[in-house]
């Protein structure tokens, strides 16, 4: 353990922590939205994140469309794929024990990850950073790569945007109502199945967006979502599934915590989030922001 830490290391690791936190926030937000309405734990969230990155890579390789169009297209394309999954597969499990949803989406993960590993190998492909975001600022306390700052910024904007849609718009209020009482909402003439499909697609699109953001940093690899999704599960358990704002705050917060751990106690950096989860479970089983059901 080191207590005498150079400022550069501290700021640097906190920044990296914020970046990780951005991905945790984006993904746990999507998971929370999907769980809220479908009562399904979308295990394949990590695989859909991977698909987003692959679509971006594919767009670049085959059509020459770069990063900026990919930011919009990948979520749309993967979102459409999400609609396909929901309509074809998940709908058949409506009414069954939610554990079946977990198992089905786990199967989808294995299928997608295996398929992509066969096609592309498991170590992944490079994806270049967009020229506009290359380079960085040489600040007195650290060298700040531009791209990484962009990732944190855009994630914050998207997360808060989604929160605003859900908490402040008519669509969002219908969504929230359908979570509470679907039959009643459909009695009002609102097409609940379509709402469910749209919700799933939205959650999936968020995952895909995260994938595109990750592509230049983490390389585009079939297994990029595999270990990430488990950390996101822990984030969701800690934050509690009830609150949208809760998952955003928890995501970023845990990312920063991880970064700080890397500075002071690097050996524990992989496990600190799980340790926090264990502690939260003992003290407040519903999660930090969760509602007791």
């Amino acid at each position: 353990m080191t207590l005498a830490v150079p400022v550069q290391a501290l700021f640097g690791q906190v920044l990296i922590g914020l970046i990780n936190g951005s991905f945790y926030a984006l993904l746990s937000l999507g998971l929370a939205i999907i769980f809220g309405l479908l009562n399904v734990i979308n295990f394949c969230h990590g695989a859909l994140y991977m698909l987003g990155a692959f679509v971006a890579w594919f767009l670049l390789e085959k059509t020459g469309l770069g990063y900026w169009p990919a930011l919009l297209l990948a979520p749309l394309i993967v979102g459409a794929f999400g609609i396909f999954i929901e309509r074809l597969l998940l709908k058949r499990l409506a009414g069954l024990d939610p554990l079946y949803g977990l198992l089905l989406t786990f199967g989808i993960v294995l299928f997608l990850q295996g398929l992509f590993s066969n096609w592309f190998g498991s170590s992944g492909m490079p994806y270049d950073m967009p020229k506009q975001l290359q380079g960085g600022q040489a600040l007195p306390f650290m060298f700040l790569p531009n791209y990484r700052v962009w990732v944190v910024g855009i994630s914050l904007v998207v997360c808060l945007g989604v929160w605003a849609i859900i908490e402040r718009t008519r669509l969002g209020s219908r969504l929230r109502a359908a979570t509470e009482n679907a039959p009643l909402v459909s009695a009002f003439g609102i097409d609940v199945p379509r709402l469910v499909t749209v919700t799933y697609a939205l959650g999936v699109a968020l995952a895909a967006l995260a994938g595109v953001l990750a592509a230049p940093i983490y390389r585009v690899s079939p297994l990029m979502g595999a270990d990430l999704i488990i950390v996101v599960f822990a984030v969701v358990v800690i934050g509690g599934m009830g609150s949208i704002l809760g998952s955003i705050v928890t995501g970023f917060g845990l990312g920063v915590l991880e970064g700080l751990t890397k500075v002071f106690y690097p050996e524990a950096s992989n496990t600190v989030i799980f340790v926090v989860m264990a502690v939260v479970l003992l003290i407040r089983p519903a999660g930090l922001f969760g509602r007791q059901t």
């Binding site: 150079p6 550069q8 290391a9 640097g12 690791q13 990296i16 590993s117 066969n118 190998g121 498991s122 170590s123 992944g124 490079p126 950073m129 960085g136 040489a138 650290m142 060298f143 790569p145 791209y147 990484r148 940093i217 983490y218 390389r219 690899s221 990029m224 970064g259 890397k262 690097p266």
Partner: protein, 406 residues
């Protein structure tokens, strides 16, 4: 009539005698090529290893006497349990006599154990750990292409002597990285350098940002990359992203393959100093062989490991031709050690008592983009170091077979 009978009898006797002489188990000589087909080490050998092995088999005519030579391939996915499981099955159920390649030192160590247990032959080319001929040496192992000691001795020494006095390591946290860090530390300290610290990263890491930050804050002259393949490529890219070289620090790529430089591109890789036992463009003989290899492998030039696969399989087969038996792995390896080696890729050399193949090692520098005339024209030679100076002296490895001989 009598002459006919005598002649038939004579021919029959000779036939029986020659058949009896050739003692190849299961009537076939089967060599298994085991490496990483799709992961972070796929480029340095992968399916190209199979191509190289096949070239050696073809050169021997595809058979020894009447016994055919067969090749079989498997992907160990860089996991010791999978690699050892495949080796075991190959020996128990598939009549395999020798295993060649096996990058990823932890897998190689596991496979070496199985080979020793079953008394077969292991021609190690992919793995780096010098323990294969040191503390974990075995009478059934031949370690061919390179090892961590030679890398440390050549690249490490050259870097220290050119001004890189203080070091910080970025180490892949498994047998290979640990061995490379250990061997390089010895060399650096022996030449007046100092190790300021290091950080260990998991195998197959894609994001090196937090590790590089630690390297930067250490203030060391040199950031030593004790990793390989995909990990090295990612480390170098991240170093550029975080302005490591702008801050005055140097990168030392302790194990770099042709395919790494090719993947990075000379813009990023130029000036990198590294060592290798083989380069396709070194002389007329290596060029001729490499062009043939490239024709069979999508125009890709061979790496040091693929060259080693070819050369070691060739020597193995030549030895089998002389011994006419492959059942006793230890006996075959002993015969390989007695016969001096000579091929177009590594020149003349020998295999020592501890299994270490001795040949020259070369210090290379990655060319500047302006200096490169073709896609694979990537290296320029800095120095040649003869084998007896590059590799660890026989008595220093801690190999039990060596002290026993004394």
């Amino acid at each position: 009539m009598k002459t006919f009978a005598v002649a038939t009898f004579a021919v029959a006797t000779i036939a029986v005698a020659t058949a009896a002489r050739a003692d190849f188990t299961d009537g076939v000589i089967k060599i298994g090529v085991l490496n990483d087909a799709s992961g972070l080490y796929a480029d340095l050998s992968g399916k190209g290893g199979m191509v190289a092995a096949q070239m050696a088999v073809d050169e021997m005519g595809g058979k020894i006497g009447k016994t055919p030579i067969e090749l079989i391939y498997a992907d160990h996915q860089n996991k010791p349990d999978i690699g050892a499981g495949i080796a075991r099955q190959w020996f128990d159920a598939d009549h395999v006599d020798a295993i060649v390649d096996v990058p990823t030192s932890s897998v190689a160590l596991a496979v070496a154990q199985v080979v020793k247990e079953k008394n077969k032959v292991f021609l190690a080319n992919g793995p780096g750990t010098s323990d294969l001929t040191g503390s974990k040496c075995s009478p059934n192992t031949v370690h061919w292409a390179y090892d961590t000691y030679a890398l440390a001795n050549v690249t490490g020494k050259a870097t220290v002597l050119s001004g890189g006095k203080t070091w910080f390591f970025l180490t892949a946290d498994y047998a290979f990285g640990q061995a490379l860090e250990r061997d390089t530390t010895k060399v650096v300290e022996a030449n007046g350098g100092k190790i300021l610290g290091g950080v260990k990263h998991p195998l197959n890491t894609s994001d090196f940002s937090s590790f590089l930050l630690q390297a930067q804050s250490s203030g060391a002259n040199v950031v030593g990359l004790a990793n390989a393949g995909g990990d090295t490529i990612n480390s170098i890219k991240a170093a550029h992203e975080f302005g490591l070289t702008k801050g005055g620090q140097k990168l030392a790529g302790l194990l770099i393959f042709l395919t790494d430089i090719h993947s990075l591109g000379l813009d990023t890789a130029q000036g990198l100093l590294f060592s290798s036992s083989f380069y396709w463009d070194r002389d007329a003989k290596t060029r001729a062989w490499s062009k043939k290899f490239a024709e069979k492998y999508n125009g890709r030039m061979p790496t040091m490991v693929q060259a080693g696969v070819y050369a070691s399989v060739l020597h193995y087969l030549k030895t089998l031709k002389a011994t006419q038996a492959d059942g006793d792995g230890k006996a075959v390896v002993d015969a390989m050690k007695k016969m001096p080696t000579d091929d177009n890729l590594f020149g003349k050399g020998t295999i020592r008592a501890d299994g270490r193949k001795i040949h020259s090692f070369y210090l290379y520098e990655a060319k500047k983009p302006s200096e490169s005339k073709s896609e694979w024209d990537l290296y320029k030679l800095v120095k040649e170091i003869p084998g007896d100076q590059a590799f660890r002296p026989l008595t220093e490895g801690g190999c039990s077979m060596v002290s026993a001989a004394k």
